[in-house]
C-alpha cells in the first residue's frame, strides 16, 4: 500500500517559514509543486545564498573534475595552491582502461604548481611554465592541460598565453588552458561550459582519420563512473555501433581529435555537454540526439532511437535481438525484487541529469520519486530546451564565454537533411532537444533546485522516504536520520548502473539498501516505546 503523503504545497510553505523574508522569496521560486500538464517556471542556475549549506561546488570542479578528469593521456596541471588539485585527485571514480600495460594513463597522478605567496605577489606564470617543462621532460605526454584556480584569475596570470608559448616550445605536445576559476558562474555548471569550449577549440577536429564502421557515433556526457561507459560500449559493440569518442569517460586525446568524423552525437548528460553537441553540429554538421542509458526501458528506447536514426534494417534487427537477450536478466531480477520495493518512496537531488535519469530505474522497481531536483541544472534541464530563448542571461552567466562557431568550409558535411531530422523530431526523438525533467514527473511532486541541508532535513521529516539519493556531503546526515542514502555521484563505490547490466546492479543495490535489517536495530531494546512492564512500574513509581 502506498503511503499517504502530505500536500506538497503545504510542505513548501512550511519549509519557507524558517527563512529570512528575502531568502524565502528567492527560495520560493526555486521550489515548484509540479504539474506536468502546464508550463511551470523554476528558478535555477542562480547564485546560492551565502550561508546556505549547499550541495554545490565550483567551476574548477566542473571543468577539471567532471569533464577533463576522465581523459587518461592528458597531464592535467592545476595552477594554484595545492588544495584544488589534491581534492580532485582520483575522487570521482572515473574508470579507465588503457589499451596496453604501457599505454599512457596519468589519472592516478595529481599535478599542481602548488602556488606559494611569492607567486601570488609576483605572478605565477614563470612557475607554471617551469612546471609544464618538468612534466614534459618527465613524461613526454601528447597533451598538457592547465586549470586555473581562484587566485590565478585575480592576479592576472594569462594561462592561455603560457599554453601558446609552451605548445610552440615543446613542439609535439598540445598545451591548452582553462580559465575555470572557482568563482566563475554559480556552480560546477560554468566549468562544464568552459571545458566544452576549450576542448572544442584546441582538440576536436585535429585528426581527420576516419575509423572503420557503418554507424559512427560519439557518446557525449558519459563519464564512466563506476564503469558505466564500459557497459554502454559493450552494448554498442554488440549492436555493431562504432564509438568514435566518448566525452569523456575512458577517453583519450586522440579520440577527441577524431570526434568530428562521427555521424551522430548522443547526449547523455545534457547539462554538462550540450554545448559540445551544438558546436559540433554547427561546425561539422553532426546532428545530436538526447538519449539515456540509465534504466532498462530507457536503454532499450535509446538503442531503438539510434537504430531508427540510421534507418538500417539490419541494425534495427540487431538492436531488437540485443534488447531481447539483455532484458531477460532484467525481468528476472525485477520479478524477484519488486515485491520488496513496490510503493516505496525515493528522492533524488544530484547533478544536472541524474536526478531525471534515475527516476526511470526507481519506477522499474515500483518506487515513486516524490521529490527531485538538480544541484547545478538550468531551466532547460527542468522545463525542456523550449525555454532556452526565454532564459534571462544574468551577470554570472554572461561572464562565461560563448564561442562564435561557424560552418567549417572543408569539414562540414550534412549527415541528414533538415526535413529528415524534422521527421524524427516529430516522432519524439529529441533531436537537438531535451524535454527536461518536470514533464516526466508526476503531478504534485516537489521539484527543488539547489536544495539546502535545511530543506533536505525538512523533506525527510515530511515524507519519510525509503531512500534518498544525493552525494557524499549529504550521505551521513541523511543516514543519521535513519534513511539510507544512495550516492549517485560515486554510486557508493559500486555500479555500474548504466545499460541493462547496470540496471540489474541498481535493483539489487536498492533492494539491499531499503531492506537491510540494520535500520530496524537503531533503537536499543530499552529505548523502544513499549518498555517491559517492570520498567514502566518503576518509572511511574519514580514520578
Amino acid at each position: 500500500m502506498s503511503k499517504k503523503l502530505k500536500d506538497a504545497s503545504t510542505i513548501k510553505e512550511e519549509i519557507l517559514k524558517q527563512y529570512p523574508p528575502k531568502v524565502a522569496r528567492k527560495r520560493s521560486n526555486a521550489i515548484v509543486v509540479n504539474d506536468p500538464a502546464i508550463d511551470q517556471e523554476i528558478l535555477s542556475n542562480v547564485r546560492t545564498i551565502p550561508g546556505i549549506i549547499t550541495q554545490r561546488g565550483c567551476s574548477y570542479a566542473g571543468c577539471k573534475g567532471v569533464v577533463l578528469g576522465p581523459t587518461r593521456d592528458i597531464i592535467n596541471i592545476t595552477h594554484g595552491p595545492i588544495g584544488c588539485g589534491f581534492y580532485s585527485w582520483l575522487t570521482r571514480r572515473n574508470q579507465t582502461k588503457p589499451e596496453t600495460e604501457d599505454s599512457e594513463n596519468y589519472m592516478p597522478y595529481c599535478f599542481s604548481t602548488d602556488m606559494q605567496d611569492d607567486n601570488i605577489v609576483f605572478g605565477g606564470e614563470k612557475k607554471l611554465k617551469a612546471a609544464i617543462r618538468e612534466a614534459y621532460d618527465l613524461f613526454h605526454p601528447k597533451g598538457i592541460a592547465i586549470f586555473s584556480t581562484c587566485p590565478v584569475g585575480l592576479i592576472g596570470d594569462d594561462v592561455h598565453a603560457v599554453a601558446r608559448d609552451m605548445k610552440e616550445e615543446l613542439g609535439d605536445c598540445n598545451v591548452f588552458g582553462f580559465s575555470c576559476e572557482g568563482y566563475k558562474g554559480v556552480s560546477q555548471s560554468a566549468g562544464h561550459h568552459i571545458a566544452n569550449n576549450q576542448i572544442f577549440k584546441h582538440v576536436v577536429g585535429r585528426d581527420n582519420t576516419v575509423k572503420e564502421g557503418k554507424f559512427k557515433i560519439n557518446l557525449l556526457g558519459e563519464y564512466n563512473i563506476g564503469g558505466d561507459g564500459f557497459v554502454i560500449d559493450e552494448l554498442f559493440a554488440k549492436c555493431g555501433i562504432t564509438v568514435i569518442s566518448t566525452f569523456s569517460g575512458n577517453s583519450t586525446l586522440g579520440a577527441f581529435e577524431r570526434s568530428h568524423t562521427a555521424d551522430l552525437n548522443l547526449v547523455m548528460c545534457h547539462r554538462s555537454i550540450n554545448y559540445m553537441a551544438e558546436m559540433m553540429e554547427t561546425k561539422y554538421g553532426i546532428p545530436w540526439m538526447k538519449i539515456n542509458f540509465i534504466g532498462a526501458k530507457e536503454t532499450a528506447k535509446s538503442l531503438r532511437k539510434i537504430a531508427q536514426y540510421f534507418e538500417d534494417k539490419e541494425l534495427i534487427e540487431t538492436v531488437e535481438k540485443v534488447i531481447a537477450e539483455e532484458i531477460q536478466a532484467v525481468e528476472e531480477t525485477i520479478k524477484e525484487i519488486r515485491p520488496r520495493t513496490e510503493n516505496k518512496l525515493a528522492m533524488i537531488f544530484v547533478g544536472g541529469s541524474r536526478a531525471h535519469h534515475y527516476q526511470g530505474l526507481f519506477s522499474e522497481l515500483g518506487m515513486k520519486t516524490v521529490s527531485a531536483g538538480y544541484e547545478f541544472g538550468h531551466r532547460d534541464d527542468y522545463e525542456g530546451r523550449k525555454v532556452i530563448p526565454d532564459i534571462k542571461v544574468d551577470a554570472d552567466s554572461r561572464n562565461i564565454e560563448e564561442l562564435d562557431v561557424e560552418k567549417d568550409p572543408e569539414l562540414y558535411k550534412e549527415r541528414k537533411s533538415a526535413a529528415d531530422l524534422k521527421k524524427l523530431s516529430d516522432k519524439g526523438f529529441e533531436i537537438a532537444d531535451y524535454i527536461g525533467m518536470m514533464p516526466d514527473m508526476e503531478k504534485d511532486t516537489l521539484v527543488i533546485d539547489d536544495i539546502s541541508q535545511y530543506e533536505t532535513e525538512k523533506l525527510i521529516e515530511y515524507y519519510k522516504p525509503d531512500v534518498f539519493c544525493a552525494g557524499i556531503k549529504e550521505k551521513y546526515a541523511v543516514q543519521k536520520m535513519g534513511i539510507p542514502l544512495k550516492q549517485l555521484h560515486s554510486y557508493d563505490y559500486g555500479g555500474p548502473y548504466a545499460g541493462f547490466k547496470g540496471a540489474v546492479n541498481f535493483y539489487k543495490d536498492i533492494d539491499m539498501m531499503v531492506n537491510t535489517s540494520i535500520w530496524g536495530l537503531i533503537k536499543a531494546p530499552w529505548e523502544k516505546e513499549k518498555q517491559p512492564e517492570i520498567s514502566a512500574n518503576f518509572v511511574s513509581g519514580a514520578v
Binding site: Y60, N105, A130
Partner: protein, 460 residues
C-alpha cells in the same frame, strides 16, 4: 601498474608537485572548528572550497560534516566579500542556529584582501550576531603552509579570541592535542582522568565526528569543547601542547594573552613520546603516575619483546603530516625498525632538524624531505631505488604499495578506504599497541602470502 609513469631516476623538480603529501590550509581550519561544541565552520570563499573540504572530511570520517560558505561570485571577487559574509552570518544564525560560527578564509578572499576581522566586527556592530553567540575567524591563505597550518591557525584563533584571564586560577591543565583523530582525543582525556588530572582540551572533535547512529541528525552533536571551557583556558595553571606544527601557536597565544605557560611536546605516539606526555601530565598536574598507566605501558613493551624478530631492522617509508611523522619516527626507532624515508609536504625547517635529532645517529641512511616538491612521487622514486619493507601513510599510499608489493599501514589524513581511525586511537600506550598490531598484521600477512608451501608457518 597504476603509477606506471614514475621513473626510477630522480630528476630535481622545482615547480611541479606530483602526488602531494599535503593539502591546503582551510580544510585544517574546518576540522579544528568542528572541535568546538555548537560550532558551524564557515568558509569565506568560493563554494568549491567548502564542498571539497566537506567531501574530503566526510570520506575520512563517514560522518556529517556541516559547514557553510560565502558562495563568492565573480562580482564578489571584484568588489570584495563583505556583503557575502555579512549575509552568510545572518542566514546561518537564522536557519542553522549554531552557538558560534568559526570563519576561515581561502586563497580567494586572501588574494583580494578581505579583512575578516573587520567584517566580523561589523556583523557584531550591525546586530547580526544574536546575544550570547559568537563569530570567531582566522586567516588561512592556501598558498602558505599546508592543511596543518590551517589547523594551527584556527586553534590559535580560538585561544586568541575566546580565552579569558579573569585572575581566578582554575586547577586544570590546557591540552592542545594537535591534529589527531576523535579517538585520540578520547584517549588523551581517558589518560588524563586515569592520572587524576583535570584538563580542558581544545579542539576536541570526539563526540562530533564519531557520533552514534540514533535515528536523528544532530547539527551540533554532544561533543566539542564548549565556549565556557574555551574561555576558561586563560585561567588554567599550565598548557601542554602536543605537536609543534599544529599546537604551538595556540599555546603561545594563551601564554601571551593570559600568561599561562606551556610545555611543547611531540605527539604522544609510541613509547618514548607517550612517556614524556605522561611525565608532563604528572609534573604539571602534581600527581604520581598510577599503577594502571604503568601496566598499560608494560603491555605495549611486552608485545614488542614478544614480536621483536618481525620488526628488527625492517626498512620503513613514511609520509604525511610533520607532527605524526616526528613521533612515528621515534616509535619506529624504539621498535628497532629503520625509518629510512620520511616525506611531508608541510614546510618548516624544524621538521628535518627534529627528525635528524631523533634518527640521525641510529638510522644514518635516513632521507628526509619536506616542503616544496616533497611529495609521494618523490617518495615512490626513492622506494624504487632502494626498496622498503613497509609503507605508512594516508590512503593515497595504496597505489605505491600495490605497484611495489609493499605491506602498507594507513595512518594520517585522509584515510578514505578503511574505517577504524575514528574509534581506535594511535596515541598513548594503547595507541602504540594498535599501531603495532597493524604493522605486525601487514608484515605477517605478506610473509604468509609469499611463503613457499614448505615454509608456511602455523605459529608466528
Amino acid at each position: 601498474m597504476l603509477l606506471r609513469h614514475t621513473p626510477k631516476e630522480e630528476v630535481k623538480r622545482e615547480a611541479l608537485t606530483i602526488n602531494p603529501a599535503k593539502t591546503c590550509q582551510p580544510i585544517g581550519a574546518m576540522y579544528a572548528s568542528l572541535g568546538i561544541h555548537g560550532c558551524l565552520p564557515h568558509s569565506h570563499g568560493s563554494q568549491g572550497c567548502c564542498a571539497y573540504h566537506r567531501s574530503t572530511l566526510t570520506r575520512h570520517y563517514k560522518e556529517p560534516i556541516m559547514a557553510a560558505t560565502s558562495s563568492f561570485t565573480e562580482g564578489s571577487s571584484v568588489f570584495g566579500g563583505q556583503a557575502n559574509l555579512l549575509q552568510a552570518i545572518n542566514t546561518i544564525f537564522t536557519v542553522y542556529n549554531p552557538d558560534i560560527i568559526a570563519v576561515h578564509t581561502t586563497c580567494l578572499s586572501e588574494t583580494i584582501g578581505d579583512d575578516v576581522n573587520q567584517i566580523a566586527q561589523k556583523a557584531y556592530d550591525d546586530g547580526k550576531v544574536p546575544e550570547g553567540k559568537y563569530v570567531i575567524h582566522t586567516n588561512t591563505p592556501s598558498y602558505i603552509g599546508s592543511h596543518v597550518t590551517g589547523f594551527s591557525n584556527m586553534t590559535a584563533s580560538m585561544a586568541k579570541q575566546l580565552s579569558e584571564h579573569t585572575g581566578r586560577d582554575i586547577d586544570q591543565l590546557n591540552i592542545i592535542p594537535g591534529w589527531v583523530e576523535p579517538a585520540d582525543m578520547v584517549e588523551i582525556k581517558r589518560l588524563s582522568a586515569e592520572m587524576g588530572v583535570k584538563i580542558v582540551m581544545f579542539p576536541d572533535t570526539s563526540g562530533v565526528l564519531d557520533a552514534p547512529q540514533t535515528g536523528k541528525h544532530e547539527m551540533y552533536p554532544d561533543g566539542g569543547t564548549t565556549i565556557p571551557e574555551l574561555k576558561s583556558t586563560g585561567d588554567s595553571i599550565y598548557t601542554i601542547a602536543l605537536g609543534k606544527f599544529a599546537s604551538e601557536q595556540a599555546a603561545q597565544a594563551i601564554d601571551s594573552k593570559c600568561k599561562v605557560k606551556y610545555d611543547m611536546l611531540d605527539l604522544p605516539i609510541g613509547i618514548s613520546a607517550t612517556d614524556r606526555f605522561i611525565e608532563a601530565l604528572a609534573k604539571r598536574g602534581g600527581v604520581y603516575v598510577p599503577e594502571s598507566i604503568t601496566k598499560e605501558r608494560g603491555q605495549l613493551i611486552d608485545i614488542v619483546t614478544d614480536m621483536h624478530q618481525y620488526l628488527y631492522n625492517k626498512r620503513v617509508a613514511i609520509f604525511g603530516d610533520p607532527d605524526q611523522l616526528i613521533a612515528l619516527t621515534e616509535f619506529l626507532i624504539d621498535l628497532n625498525m629503520r625509518p629510512v624515508y620520511v616525506v611531508s609536504g608541510t614546510p618548516g625547517k624544524y621538521f628535518e632538524s627534529r627528525i635528524m635529532e631523533i634518527a640521525g645517529n641510529k638510522v644514518p641512511e635516513i632521507k628526509v624531505k619536506n616542503g616544496s616538491c616533497a611529495d609521494a612521487f618523490l617518495l615512490h622514486q626513492w622506494i624504487k631505488n632502494e626498496p622498503v619493507d613497509l609503507l605508512i601513510g594516508n590512503t593515497y599510499g595504496k597505489y605505491i604499495a600495490r605497484d611495489e608489493d609493499i605491506p602498507f599501514v594507513r595512518m594520517g589524513f585522509p584515510i578514505v578506504d578503511r574505517i577504524g581511525h575514528s574509534y581506535f586511537p594511535t596515541v598513548g600506550y594503547k595507541g602504540g599497541m594498535r599501531i603495532l598490531e597493524k604493522i605486525l598484521g601487514v608484515l605477517m600477512d605478506k610473509q604468509d602470502k609469499d611463503a613457499k608451501e614448505e615454509k608456511f608457518e602455523l605459529v608466528m
